[in-house]
Amino acid sequence: MTLAGQASVIARKDLVIEVRGRHALGTLLPFAATVLIAFGFAFGPGRDVLDRVAPGLLWMAVLFSAVIASRRAYQVETEDGALEGLLLAPIDKAAVFLGKAAAVTLELLALVLAVLVLVVLLFDLSVTSPLLMIAAFVLGVVGLAAVGSLFGVVAESARTREAIFPMLVLPLVAPVLISGVRATDLAASGRSSEVLSWLGLLAAFDVVFLSVGVLVFGYLLED
């Protein structure tokens, strides 16, 4: 089986678990909504400030959710010696990384759509160029999922030190946050020509972290 084939098996397995457990829908969505409401309290009720920061709020909610989703992706492996099973399975270790990242990406994209609706309703975000905005979400979420899936396996072993995982991931994904917010902001106001360079940066981040992940993930899993 090819690497992509193996990865898609892992991704399908994770998605089936998520669909049956309703974790993304049952936990992540209420969590993201709570974050948005909290930001509303922090920056509201004046419309002018909320309008300006709406793209940032959206990405903050997605960022926090990505941290939870990535940790969750490895939490499901701790039961019944599933991680040992993955280690012993005759597949490339990089496929585990890519599969996890793909599953987290899809979960987060579903979440982003819901969060986007909330942000449009609550903070009046205008969607002038929907295609560019979707491109920004896809590219940004892939980057978040790549970093999260790479270090999620570390987070799972650090359950007594919960803060380490977000502490590690949040600075690393600073470029995703910056580019994602700028691209969303520009796409919202219809300045589509300027969006492209930010999308390029997001794509570069994705390529770099997916390749580094493929190269080093085996070490993390085996040790």
Binding site: S157, M167, P171, R182, L220
Partner: protein, 242 residues
């Protein structure tokens, strides 16, 4: 017997080398202090406060040097699995975090009188702050587990990923800044740097680099001792038999 003598000789040489490095570092720092505080003239525009540059720039240089060493040592560890490389990476990361924090603190002290603010979201400042956070995370990851090989592997991956991330962070911050209004403060720009000023700066960089080498030898020795202690604590019977 021969092995014991050899080990004793090796230790004496390394302790001597360590002391020599320490003395060299101290002397270089003293020379650099004289050059930057006495010999170099005060800045035409900023006056005396500009002298912070002679420690700020070397500290920033050490920050990047240390993290580059962490990067190289991390790759070497994953390739060879030799604990020596892990000790080098750990030692360099600790020194790097110290000097990154120092560079930021000195930059703030310099920025307040010159720019009128402790902090601006300048690309270099912001990148350095993110750098500090990444390597504080690196040190935190080292404390997750007591299993030495697992700790070394995890840390090595963070050491590689963190360094690869820095150019992307910098690029994104540069673009981000260009969309906002720049700070309306006095910038150094690219001024003609006076001869003695350049000399003081280069001497500062050299002095800090020697200090880095000295701190590395100290930290590496402590690292070796820590490892030996852990080994001995784990296997008292083996030690008695030896």
């Amino acid at each position: 017997m021969a092995a014991t003598a050899e080990r004793a000789l090796g230790k004496a040489i390394s302790r001597n080398g360590e002391r020599t490095l320490g003395i060299a570092a101290l002397a270089a720092l003293a020379v650099s202090a004289v050059l930057s505080l006495v010999v170099a003239p005060p800045d035409a525009v900023q006056g005396e406060v500009q002298r912070i540059m002679y420690v700020h720039v070397p500290a920033a240089w050490l920050a990047y040097l240390s993290f580059f060493v962490v990067f190289v040592a991390s790759i070497a560890y994953l390739k060879t699995k030799k604990t020596r490389w892990d000790r080098v990476a750990a030692a360099s990361a600790e020194i790097g975090v110290l000097f990154t924090a120092l560079a930021i603190a000195l930059g703030m002290l310099w920025g307040k009188p010159v720019w009128g603010t402790w902090w601006t979201w300048d690309p270099r400042l912001t990148t350095t702050a993110v750098l500090l956070l990444i390597y504080v995370g690196y040190l935190a990851v080292r404390r997750i587990t007591d299993n030495p090989s697992r700790r070394a592997t995890w840390a090595a991956v963070v050491g590689i990923v963190g360094f690869v991330d820095v150019p992307i962070v910098h690029l994104s911050v540069v673009w981000w800044r260009s969309l906002h209004q720049g700070p309306t403060v006095l910038r150094l720009g690219a001024p003609e740097i006076e001869g003695t000023m350049l000399l003081a700066l280069l001497c500062g960089v050299a002095a800090f680099t020697i200090t880095y080498a000295y701190l590395m030898t100290l930290r590496l020795r402590v690292g070796r001792l820590e490892e030996r202690e852990a080994r001995e604590a784990l296997s008292p019977i083996v030690e008695v038999e030896r």
